[in-house]
């Protein structure tokens, strides 16, 4: 029982950055924009999150600025893929390459010479009174850090937003059939800019939570493929926020198991444990995908001089 509780708690904690990033990606994908550069955006978020947390002494400020960093990057990304109509995938790849270089450079310049970790004030666990006393799930669900509660709240919130608001309807229309949306008088470009900015905020914040919440430090290449896993999570979660939550938890489980086995002194070489989340992702993409459909206009630039 205690093992289960521990696993669930760790699962949620490890899944949180992926969940938040995936929710951000969801926003963008619903409007028809594929962001392969998620990894790079998260990386920027991890760095600036730590930077501003150290500066201000508060992890929340750090998190906020991580999100804003994401938004700034998102603005550039939006300009290139929406206004210039460049290939979304290639742009995303370029973003990842730039992010690596930029964060390494900034790290050396600001935090010092080696690739040693720079640490920062991290998030504290905030148990919710009463609820956290419930056996098993109490510890895992209600004994977590603040941002994790926010992330969980985001899930139904985003679902409601997409289905029950006019803006959500516009986003969905733009992602499925931009020409129809255009002739209905909707400004497709504006909608995409908006969803990219909102989504990028979340992706940046996801990075910020990774450095401030999980590891409490910045080290180069710390995102370690989580951005790509977030992409897999949306596919696996069938492009709706509840599915994304479920999928993120599955991947988080991989991480949780790996950590537990390492600390428990398992005889399996640690490298194979570390491989677990990646293998899991490959299996997920091979086994379960196929029925779900991405928004029909995903990845295609919108041209309104063609009918």
């Amino acid at each position: 029982m205690e093992l289960l509780s521990y696993l669930l708690a760790t699962d949620l904690r490890m899944a949180a950055p992926i969940l938040i990033a995936a929710l951000g990606l969801l926003f963008m994908e619903k409007s028809g924009v594929v962001n392969i550069g998620c990894e790079g955006m998260m990386l920027f978020g991890t760095f600036f999150g730590v930077f501003f947390a150290r500066l201000s002494g508060s992890p929340w400020i750090g998190l906020l600025f991580a999100g804003m960093t994401g938004m700034v990057i998102g603005l550039f990304f939006a300009f290139i893929v929406v206004t210039l109509r460049a290939n979304q995938i290639v742009t995303g790849i370029a973003l990842n390459i730039i992010a690596q270089g930029a964060t390494s450079t900034l790290n050396r310049l600001i935090f010092g010479v080696s690739s040693q970790a720079a640490n920062a004030p991290g998030f504290e666990v905030v148990p919710i009174p009463l609820l956290s006393k419930i056996p098993v799930i109490g510890d895992s669900l209600f004994n977590q850090m603040g941002p994790i509660y926010l992330a969980l709240l985001l899930v139904p919130l985003i679902r409601w937003f997409m289905m029950k608001t006019t803006m959500g309807l516009k986003i969905r229309a733009v992602g499925e059939h931009p020409h129809s949306a255009d002739t209905a008088g909707i400004n497709v470009r504006s909608v995409r800019y908006g969803s990219i900015l909102a989504g990028s905020f979340l992706v940046g914040a996801a990075g910020g939570f990774l450095s401030l919440g999980i590891l409490s430090l910045f080290s180069e290449n710390m995102v370690s493929g989580r951005g790509y896993i977030a992409l897999a999570v949306i596919i696996f979660g069938k492009w709706n926020s509840w599915g994304v939550l479920a999928a993120a938890l599955v991947f988080g489980l991989g991480d949780a198991v790996q950590i537990k086995m390492q600390t428990a002194g398992s005889s399996i070489p640690y490298q194979f444990l570390m491989m677990l989340p990646y293998i899991l992702t490959i299996l997920a993409l091979s086994g379960f995908v196929g029925k779900a459909e991405s928004p029909a206009a995903s990845g295609k630039p919108f041209r309104n001089d063609e009918l």
Partner: protein
């Protein structure tokens, strides 16, 4: 022809702008850009040793560039050159550090072929998953990168570790398997010829062979390919096998020519740089060579720039990133000409619109 000239011009401008912005960044650090770029040039072309280093760095970059390009021709996005490189390195080491009695004329090709095979398997796996299960190759290749890196780590700290076991590395490559140095005073080895041969193969395969033609058709319009009787699935797997093989070769030449044994993180990101090389070179053989030269020059000179001018090597990555960004922007600037100038209605199907008779 006009289009081609236009593309080249755009690339040149983009690269210049990227370097200019890089100069700004260097200035912000408080160092004279001229001094820094001077050191950069010095470290990459300023001496025989420097030129040798540039070519040494260029070798794997050509190969990883080809890795991305082969897949791209078939419409696939291969981000996995880094992993394919590592697996190629593993296989190269297995062959290269054993079979001590073999004559060089057999041992070297054997080891090189093993490297190719290793990478090919790593890439082919992605191809199979894509055609059988629809698994998105962008994600699977990245996942396999991490798996490959951990695999190498496991091997050199475990089964392949060289006695007495103090260092996490394999037994050294036997003399008969090493890639011979060709320029005295430098580390330049015959791997460069392997890379150039691979480049020639790419050109010949893509433009002269029927399988290359099939790959181009599949990559441009899969539906028409099917209707014409082709088998896109087979073609895509073949593309990933070749792409992976190229990546594997990159790992092979690095281990057999430079490192001399397998160790963790022996690649400073050649796989990812290869993507940039292919993008900047628009998957074209000449473009890939030039792109590899550019990025090789940056890497070779970067160390010197850090040493002499105190500019962190990571600035090179920033410049690299800027080059790619501006190349992409440049490739899409034609959009501005068309925005605002109305064109007649066109039907949007297949892989591009065509004007109706008016």
């Amino acid at each position: 022809m006009n289009r081609r000239l236009n593309t080249i011009l755009v690339q040149c401008v983009s690269i210049t702008v990227a370097f200019a912005l890089g100069a700004v960044v260097i200035k912000m650090i408080g160092i004279s850009p001229l001094f820094a770029y001077g050191a950069l040039l010095n470290g990459s072309f300023g001496s025989i040793n420097a030129i040798g280093e540039t070519l040494v760095k260029m070798t794997p970059l050509i190969l990883t560039g080809l890795s991305y390009a082969f897949a791209a021709r078939a419409g696939l996005i291969n981000i996995g050159a880094e992993g394919q490189l590592y697996v190629g390195g593993i296989l190269a080491t297995l062959v290269g550090s054993n079979f001590a009695g073999l004559p060089m004329i057999i041992h070297v090709p054997f080891a090189v072929a093993a490297a190719f095979a290793g990478g090919a398997v790593w890439g082919g796996l992605v191809g199979l998953l894509k055609v059988k299960f629809g698994a998105n190759e962008i994600i699977t290749t990245v996942m396999l990168n991490y798996i490959a890196i951990y695999l190498v780590s496991f091997l050199v700290t475990g089964p392949m570790k060289a006695p007495p076991g103090t260092m996490p590395e394999s037994r050294p490559i036997v003399d008969s398997a090493q890639l011979v140095r060709i320029l005295p005073g430098t580390r330049l080895h015959i791997g460069i010829f392997i890379a150039l041969l691979a480049l020639l193969f790419y050109y010949f395969f893509i433009f002269k062979m029927r399988q290359g033609y099939e790959m181009r058709v599949v990559g441009n319009n899969m539906e028409s390919a099917r209707a014409a009787g082709m088998r896109p699935q087979r073609t895509m797997v073949l593309a990933m096998l070749l792409a992976g093989g190229m990546g594997g070769l990159a790992g092979g030449v690095e281990i057999l020519g430079i490192q001399g044994r397998l160790l963790q993180s022996f690649s400073p990101g050649y796989g990812f740089d290869g993507i940039a090389v292919a993008l900047v070179g628009v998957n074209n053989p000449v473009g890939i060579v030039l792109g590899a030269l550019l990025f090789g020059f940056l890497r070779a000179g970067g160390n010197r720039m850090q040493l002499i001018a105190q500019v962190p090597v990571s600035v090179i990555y920033v410049v690299q990133g800027l080059v790619i960004t501006f190349v992409i922007i440049g490739q899409n600037l034609h959009v501005f000409q068309k925005v605002g100038v109305n064109r007649p209605f066109r039907r949007k199907t297949g892989d591009g619109p065509a004007p109706e008779v008016l």
